[in-house]
């Protein structure tokens, strides 16, 4: 993230909403949880051009990937020009490993699914949890100096993505990244991902790997899921289930540069 910004807005899988973004706000595109919600090379190129003309960075969210998908997405990333201000949010260990090797100068960050936070709304209401047990659910890779040092020094990781949750308060990011800059904490406000399935309801419960191209019918709506014991409404969209959050529980993190990621709609 070469441009010093404080906020990024999700602009849809392909970056369709980039022209609508307020001035000085970066754009996030792609998906943390579904390979079919990644942009194609053409849409990615357009998003890079549009963010460059607005002088803001682009964050490309990437999901878990099977072997053939990793190959395809690697080709997509290869299409990013060297001088583009693009940062990858990575949710697959193999992708992190491969891209670190293939594209050592590409900024990579640990995505929300890899970061390890627990987001089930039941955590907030469970009578079974002790205070320490509840706080444990907010811990993640970002709270481990051992993991953070390894990821920064060996894997070139520049930051971590977390959700703003009442029980999740990253207290500090204790070491500098390998490039000598403070780590970036991307605090997502709005739609924490509670769980992800591989068998997409919008594909009739079939694996997302069973279709070469997806019509993305999940973009046409979502389902509210309510059960008394859950402590909050879940929202099913595509392969993910979310909770809605106003994103006001911004975690204090010493030693980190914080960038807020906002959503206008369930991603």
């Amino acid at each position: 993230m070469r441009e010093m910004i404080a906020e990024i807005h999700y602009a849809g899988p392909d970056g369709t909403w980039i022209p609508r973004l307020p001035e000085g706000v970066g754009a996030a595109i792609g998906s943390d949880y579904c390979v079919h919600l990644l942009p194609g090379a053409e849409a990615l190129g357009r998003a890079i051009a549009e963010t460059a003309s607005r002088r803001v960075p682009l964050l490309l969210l990437t999901p878990y990937l099977r072997d053939n998908e990793l190959k395809d997405v690697t080709l997509l990333i290869r299409s990013i020009p060297d001088d583009a201000d693009v940062t990858l949010s990575v949710n697959d260990w193999g992708a992190l490993y491969a891209w670190r090797t293939l594209f050592p100068s590409m900024p990579v960050t640990i995505g929300r699914l890899l970061s390890g936070q627990k987001r089930c709304p039941r955590i907030g209401v469970s009578a079974q949890l002790t205070g320490a047990g509840r706080a444990w659910h907010g811990e993640g890779l970002f709270s481990s100096p051992v993991a953070e040092r390894f990821l920064a020094e060996k894997m070139g990781v520049r930051g971590f993505h977390v959700d703003a949750l009442p029980w999740s308060l990253p207290r500090s990011l204790p070491v500098a990244t390998g490039c000598g800059e403070p780590p970036i904490l991307f605090v997502h406000g709005g739609w924490p991902i509670v769980t992800v399935t591989d068998r997409c309801p919008w594909l009739g419960g079939a694996s997302s790997a069973s279709v070469a191209a997806c019509p993305r019918h999940c973009r046409e709506g979502f389902v509210r899921l309510d059960a008394p014991s859950m402590g909050g409404t879940l929202f099913a969209r595509g392969k993910a289930r979310f909770v809605e959050s106003d994103g006001t529980e911004s975690p204090p993190a010493e030693g980190a540069r914080i960038i807020h990621v906002r959503y206008d709609d369930c991603p």
Partner: protein
């Protein structure tokens, strides 16, 4: 090498009967007192909070390991909670050293920091297995985890037989596939549901009231049906028997059965079923339809009912049975 059958085990006295049924190796749970004192009863260091799924004393652990050693069958201990708070890493490393001295063969871990810390200890003979919670969907993840010290990698449960065997044959690191009992509708490594119900009804099995908000007036029937499918599903009935012969010839090192905390008879039945499918079905490995016929017949024999899509680990053996448009 013959694909090994990894069975859950909760007590030493289960070992002879599980070994006789065909188990080649075992995994168990044990929560060290310092962990339970720190986090209370729900947050377990091995993701099983109920007593039946954990050995309660080191004497029980020693008895189990001894029973395994007498038969040359290794015992592994699950330490697959994630994340592991930083303050717990040194204490868990010390605990793992103690396990190795007690002749446990290895641990199953899912936390990167713990894996890295254990790698630094440079154990000889003692193995670290990377849990399915690392969500290994591709060979690069297996290579990454092997490089960080994993002697074996448990693949994501969602991979098809073709995908799993491709990963197994493309690298040198032994891989393990989970395929019997306990199928979760969600990707375990990306699921943050709280499993705190003493009656063991989990958030992914609840019946939800559903409200559609979208472009069309009504929820697409296909979506409604798919969302309904897992509600009330009993994981005891989940199965991947049809895949066993093809996984075995495809180079998968071990086939894991879920079920710590289950009754002994259920564990034995699962081990026997997998063993029969592996040994008797090996001639079917070239034919998915023959595997499916054998697997479905064996399932009916074991469970007294036909198998169903919501409990199937490998839906490629049920062609045309999902609700795709």
């Amino acid at each position: 090498m013959t694909m090994r059958i990894l069975s859950p085990i909760d007590r030493a006295d289960e070992l002879p009967v599980l070994a006789a049924a065909g188990a080649d190796e075992f995994y168990a749970g044990y929560v060290p007192p310092f962990w339970a004192e720190a986090f209370g009863p729900v947050v377990s260091c091995n993701r099983r909070s109920f007593d039946a799924a954990n050995l309660s004393t080191t004497d029980e652990l020693d008895a189990l390991v001894l029973a395994g050693n007498l038969r040359g069958l290794p015992v592994y201990i699950a330490l697959n909670a994630t994340p592991i708070p930083d303050s717990m890493i040194p204490r868990l490393v010390d605990f793992v050293v103690e396990l190795s001295l007690r002749e446990v063969r290895g641990v199953i871990v899912s936390d990167l920091a713990l894996l890295l810390a254990l790698k630094e200890r440079r154990f000889r003979r003692f193995e670290m297995h990377a849990s399915t919670l690392f969500s290994a969907f591709n060979g690069a993840t297996v290579a990454f985890l092997a490089r960080q010290g994993a002697a074996r990698v448990v693949l994501a449960r969602e991979l098809s037989v073709a995908e799993a065997t491709r990963v197994a044959s493309s690298g040198r690191t032994p891989v393990e596939v989970i395929g019997m009992r306990g199928r979760c509708p969600n990707i375990e490594g990306f699921c943050s549901h709280l499993h705190d119900d003493p009656n063991r009804t989990w958030p992914c099995e609840l019946h939800y009231e559903k409200t559609w908000e979208g472009v069309s007036l009504e929820m697409p029937p296909m979506v409604a049906k798919a969302l309904d499918r897992n509600e009330g599903a009993d994981r005891y009935y989940s199965c991947g028997l049809c895949a066993v012969p093809m996984l075995a010839v495809g180079g998968v090192h071990a086939f894991k059965i879920v079920g710590r905390g289950a009754e002994t008879s259920r564990k034995v039945s699962a081990v026997e079923g997998v063993r029969r499918m592996r040994d008797e079905g090996i001639g079917d490995a070239g034919s998915p339809s023959a595997c499916a016929r054998r697997g479905k017949a064996l399932y009916r024999e074991m469970f007294g009912r036909p198998c169903s899509p919501e409990n199937c680990y490998f839906p490629e053996f049920r062609p045309g049975e999902d609700d795709r448009p």
